[in-house]
């Protein structure tokens, strides 16, 4: 079973959101290890520009493997204040360290941004167990 980092919130689309320890009202966004495994060998990541705004569950970028293109969905609503430029030259970071160096964007939450509707790590683990049967 894929590892689930305990300190973050998860969406049903397998993105995680981690409240930024350095800045109130900001979350760091990425995909879970399960998602990274399902996406395959990632060879290209396309991310939004700083200043772009997204609703909760709206696609904010794409991840491509040799086989396919997949959208990634914003688990929260808000405005992009930073993107992980390292993924342009090293998209494999998403496979190698989905919870750390493979982060994708930082988003400043609008209102609560929908963070409350996401799953806890424990709930997400149960969700994955159901999926993997």
């Amino acid at each position: 079973m894929s590892s689930v980092d305990p300190d973050r919130f998860y969406s049903k689309e397998h993105e995680w959101a981690l409240p930024d320890p350095d800045e109130d009202g900001v979350v760091i966004i990425g995909v879970s290890e399960y998602a990274a495994e399902q996406l395959g060998d990632i060879v290209m990541v396309e991310l939004p520009a700083v200043g772009d705004a997204f609703e909760q569950d709206e696609p904010f970028g794409t991840v491509e493997s040799p086989k396919s293109v997949s959208e990634v969905f914003s688990p929260v609503a808000g405005e992009v204040i930073a993107v992980n430029d390292a993924l342009e030259d090293a998209p494999e970071l998403v496979n190698d360290s989905p919870y750390t160096d493979g982060w994708m964007v930082k988003i400043r939450l609008s209102d609560d941004g929908g963070l409350d509707s996401l799953m806890s790590a424990a709930d997400y683990e149960a969700f994955l167990e159901d999926l993997e049967g």
Binding site: V43, M44, P66, V69
Partner: protein, 363 residues
């Protein structure tokens, strides 16, 4: 996936932890330990592919050779017994019903490998257009098929079947006795690597696979799924039926003129193909490379000078070369090497160029 067919190797895929997907009516392994790892394995050591979903048709009888020769675009009279031909099977209108490997076992016995998704359609088409004394049998359920591909495939084949079989020249076939059964060893493949494809009776196929796994351990042998099978064939510029060629394309458009023998007196589709040749071939399937950040994919529009002119039929990020490669169907007038194009990658125009295939050549 309960209504899907399973190949004789299904339990082995389970054991190997494959991710299974529906493909052409079968539950097939798309990936085991990772597409790039499996691709690289095939380019550097040796990979095993379950291609049991492919169909087989046997044509037997006094007129077998002539019956098949009237169905296909290539010419069985140009090869000797024990050899293989790549060919198209065309409809009367010259479009492609399927692409096939045809094995000439003898003038009275022809063995044909067809695409899994076309099994029923091909067989019906062949029966409808067969003229002469020969029996066509759909043997798809009777056979399993394992492709053994990679630079170390000859060594692995040597260990299993002996040096003489392993030294078989490309595009030939011979029966080989193996542990109480007889398999057919064909020196054909879909990766550009040395090796071959083993046709084994369905109930013996798992034993052949396991023998290959065991004999090749120190060679780095391992399984390869459909995902890497696709990137391997695309690096070679090989067509995939349903993606690059179909009932809307002719072999002349697809760059398969080399398997069309218009000098044959008769075959299904010949008149239409002669008419197309004489009128001028409007479109051509070419290799393209996207030179900006973007990966071409099946269905993406192709533009030239700001105008949509064609479509990407296959595309990927080439695991061996790192290039963004694809095949595209574009007007013949734009098919010269080096012609600048653009690919519409989900709303973003990316610069591309017509390039030669194969995209990868073995060092």
């Amino acid at each position: 996936m309960s209504d899907l067919l399973r190949t004789p190797l299904f339990d082995i895929h389970r054991r190997l932890g494959a991710r299974m997907v529906p493909f052409a009516g079968f539950e097939m392994p798309v990936q085991y330990d990772g597409l790039v790892a499996e691709h690289t394995r095939t380019r550097t050591s040796v990979g095993l592919f379950d291609v049991s979903h492919m169909g087989e048709v046997r044509v037997a009888g006094p007129d077998a050779l002539d019956v098949v020769n009237r169905l296909i675009t290539n010419d069985l009279n140009r090869i000797a017994d024990g050899r293989a031909l790549y060919t198209c099977l065309c409809a009367e209108d010259g479009t492609i019903v399927d692409d096939l490997i045809v094995y000439r076992l003898s003038p009275q016995e022809i063995f044909i490998c067809v695409n899994a998704g076309n099994r029923a359609g091909d067989f019906a088409h062949m029966k409808a257009h067969a003229r002469g004394e020969a029996t066509l049998t759909d043997e798809g359920d009777a056979w399993g098929q394992i492709a053994v591909q990679g630079p170390k495939a000859p060594e692995l084949i040597t260990r299993l079947f002996g040096a003489e079989v392993a030294a078989q020249k490309p595009f030939r076939i011979q029966p080989v006795a193996f542990r109480g059964t007889t398999v057919l060893f064909a020196s054909t493949g879909y990766t550009g690597e040395p090796g071959g494809e083993i046709y084994a009776p369905a109930d013996s196929t798992p034993a052949v696979w396991e023998a290959l796994e065991e004999a090749g351990q120190d060679l780095g042998v391992g399984p390869v799924g459909l995902g890497a099978r696709d990137t391997l064939r695309l690096e070679m510029g090989y067509c995939l039926y349903g993606n690059d060629i179909d009932r809307a394309t002719s072999p002349l458009e697809a760059g398969l003129g080399w398997v069309v023998r218009l000098d044959k007196p008769e075959f299904v589709g010949r008149d239409a193909l002669i008419a197309q040749r004489d009128a001028g071939i409007p479109r051509k399937l070419v290799g393209i490379e996207v030179t900006e950040r973007g990966i071409p994919r099946h269905g993406y529009p192709v533009l030239h000078a700001g105008k949509e002119v064609g479509v990407v039929t296959s595309g990927t990020s080439s695991p061996t070369t790192g290039r963004s490669i694809g095949l595209a169907l574009i007007p013949t007038s734009l098919s010269e090497l080096g012609t600048p194009l653009a690919v519409d990658c989900r709303g973003k125009l990316r610069a591309a160029t017509v390039v030669s295939t194969p995209f990868y050549t073995r060092a």
